[in-house]
Symmetry: D2
Subunit: 270 residues, 4 copies
């Protein structure tokens, strides 16, 4: 990126402090990544706009539809998810819908929504080992070992609730089709499949790729850096958070706690 | 809504406390508004998913594209917007991208993002006065008067920065086309246009419908309740908030304050 | 407040944009409300510091102890409070303690924590009616009537859980003692007592002053504007929020939902 | 901790899910760490309450005053701190004071407020090396080396703004006095002093212990686990965040951006 030359005055210093390559504003003008907003409204979809703002160019229709599938898949997983429960309780406390959504989004941390980011990182390690010459099974095995030395959790695999996640087949099916059509290279899909196979033990329950793993494959195939896997999941889950906060708002309940009021929390004596 | 009959046990009471009509979960099953998630992934777009979760049914393609235009139009307005500035600063403080986005979304309150909700309410008042027999110009005039008695701000009209907002023409053009095609009834468009005309004074700078007003027209025409105008704007602006937080993250800056460090805030002596 | 004279340059404009009367900073210097920080550390207590930053001067020891009692009384009310439940769930999601606390504080809105602010406003109305000549019983009655015309909730009176709130007697006792000693005037105490009496109906369960009402009396007596009743409650409840978030952190649980995982939310069919 | 015996019913399971050792509630009863709230109001200070809720017992007066000094010292550092700037902007956006405070607290992450936590961890490492037999200078040197291998930042030392932080002398003076009186052991003070000396290079500007380092010494001496250094800083800084949000509220400004509206952010062309 380049900045226009010129004397560095205080005005320039302040303007530079808030420099951005995303949006150019002047009276009557809004350009996003160099494109006038009036050329985008009505011609570009929301998913293409997400891509444009994050990456500076527009996706092909096939890239956009792959990204869209990932975003659609993650919108909700019901009130057991802390993000949803938090937003529903917030909506009863006399704050705005924006505050309720923010409360839900705020808890999409390393342990809840962050698995996608970590899974992109892990699958990137598998890809790097392959580029250095390992075959994919060895690359997966070595990466699993390295990851387990650092953390008790292997991100993107297994689910405490679903034996088979119903989102797995359609998402991976879309990636497979995209590989066949040359839309994406297939390295992340191969890496994830190899990890899944390496985790398979005779006589043991399988540890299948879960929703975080499936979307990590898509984000990785499309070239998004790992932290954006979390960012994109936030956009996706915000849809469910809004829907739940709105449903709760309509109930008229005030100060909803986590359980019916007649059940008292157990008091733990020291 | 109906609940299954049966003895009200503690388990039922707790389950009912978190009752929802949005998503049904059981092991291996995720259904959204009654539709299996595997039937939605790859066939339904993100905007249709937003509509489905909020309203329980799917929009027609023309309804979806109108909603999509409103969501695309609001994604960003640069770092002067508090939501964007807040998210950029948050991103430098060693918190997750989800926390940075939440910080930005949290400030989309009554005075920043809430204008859309208020504008839907105001335009609804105009529509109600018409239904009671007033012509649209009188309905607009009476509503402006009633609104000004309650608040110094007329939501959805005028802009401190853009003499003509470049998003106005394409958005209203899409609504006009949708009215012609019978997709929407046109009552909110008529109401907004009448308010705009009523605000016009000879020799004075016009007070045109702004982005909040244009999207309020769309949300109102599509039948969204007023609070969802704010909710939908949150989804839209989250895209820009994420893009700016991510751009700032890449700068590597730590603890970004609001201005270059060598400028000290003026100290106001008592 | 006065600003130093001088040419309005860009630097001045930016410095003025962030002008403050709270803290003066220069290299090696931190002054709070005109007092060097090194003179405050070790000599001034936390409660006095709260008062100093909010009001510009230091409280007398008796004023400080009255404020301290209100702050001590509100620190916690257990996990049924949404603020506490939210913070505990947040703490299991892989975010920082600061994010968990923010999530809890964020829900202390109009319906949860905002009652103190509203009660100061209501008691102020009673005081104003007295200043205009009404006796306190009439002033209380007229204010109750006016308030009920605007809202179904009378802030600061009654409790859904405690028939008698154990915090009521010690808090009001401290205010009574302060009135006797001339520390405060007693107008808010008289107003609250009159409202409590006006709500008493023969043969009906009494509607006693609750914790929000008791602290509203203290904040009002000490001269805090109504919005600071909410702000001060935030400082107080932050203590409990931190303690609960920390307790939950130590459990090692990840992604705590609102109920045990084997209880599924009731699905409401349309 | 022990739980009452008895059959594990659904009610018990739900009650246990929200078990806590902090507060016991029943109608008419609020006990904090086993002490009735009515015995605490008016007799225990806010700082003692913080200690009680976090640790289960009450501090001695000397312990409380040391903790109080640390909490007083960190309340504010002016609008350059992102937490303060964020809260001030939030306060102009039409959200509640609680939301403005939450927005500020939310950014007190690893890079802004987290240094205290990291410094407690680092000083703990020095103490552990001493316990294993190293003298304090060697322990400090080895710890600095180990820390620098992991991170470019040495937490708690140096300040980009203050050559000498005016909070350093009074805080360390209070710790020294407490060591002399036997209130605390002095290990963290010795560790911090040894690190400061090890960083001293002939002809170079010193890298003195900063506010995060001084408060880390106090928290460490008092036996708080490292994460609570961040938690306690949140309580402290919340005071300044509230004061700034309130000051900005009184200005009446709406939608305050980060700089005067006539300065436009530099647009970075690709």
């Amino acid at each position: 990126m380049t900045r226009p030359d010129g004397d560095e005055t205080v005005r320039d210093a302040v303007a530079d402090w808030w420099a951005t390559a995303i949006t150019r504003m002047s009276p009557g003008v809004i350009e996003m990544r160099g494109r006038p907003i009036q050329d985008l409204i009505g011609t570009v979809g929301l998913v293409e706009m997400i891509w444009l703002l994050l990456r500076g160019d527009l996706p092909t229709p096939r890239q956009a539809s792959l990204l869209e599938a990932a975003l659609v898949a993650g919108v909700d997983h019901g009130p057991h998810a802390p993000s949803i429960a938090v937003a529903r309780m917030a909506a009863t406390c006399g704050v705005g819908l924006n505050n309720a959504i923010a409360s839900g989004v705020n808890v999409l941390g390393d342990a809840h929504g962050g698995a996608g980011q970590q899974c992109v990182e892990m699958l990137t390690e598998v890809c790097e080992r392959r580029r250095e010459g390992a075959d994919v099974a060895d690359a997966a095995g070595a990466t699993i070992e390295a990851w387990r030395a650092r953390s008790p959790y292997l991100p993107g695999f297994g689910h405490r609730f679903h034996p088979v996640d119903p989102r797995r087949a359609p998402l991976l099916g879309l990636v497979e089709a995209a590989v066949v059509e040359g839309v994406v290279a297939g390295d992340f899909l191969a890496a994830a499949t190899a990890v899944e196979q390496a985790l398979q033990r005779p006589g043991r329950r399988p540890v299948p790729i879960n929703i975080d793993g499936c979307t990590a494959v898509i984000y990785g195939e499309l070239g998004f850096p790992a932290p954006l896997a979390r960012g994109l999941f936030v956009l996706s889950r915000s849809v469910g958070i809004l829907a739940h906060a709105w449903e709760e708002t309509q109930s008229g309940r005030r100060n909803k706690g986590p359980m019916p009021p007649d059940i008292m929390p157990t008091f733990l004596t020291p």
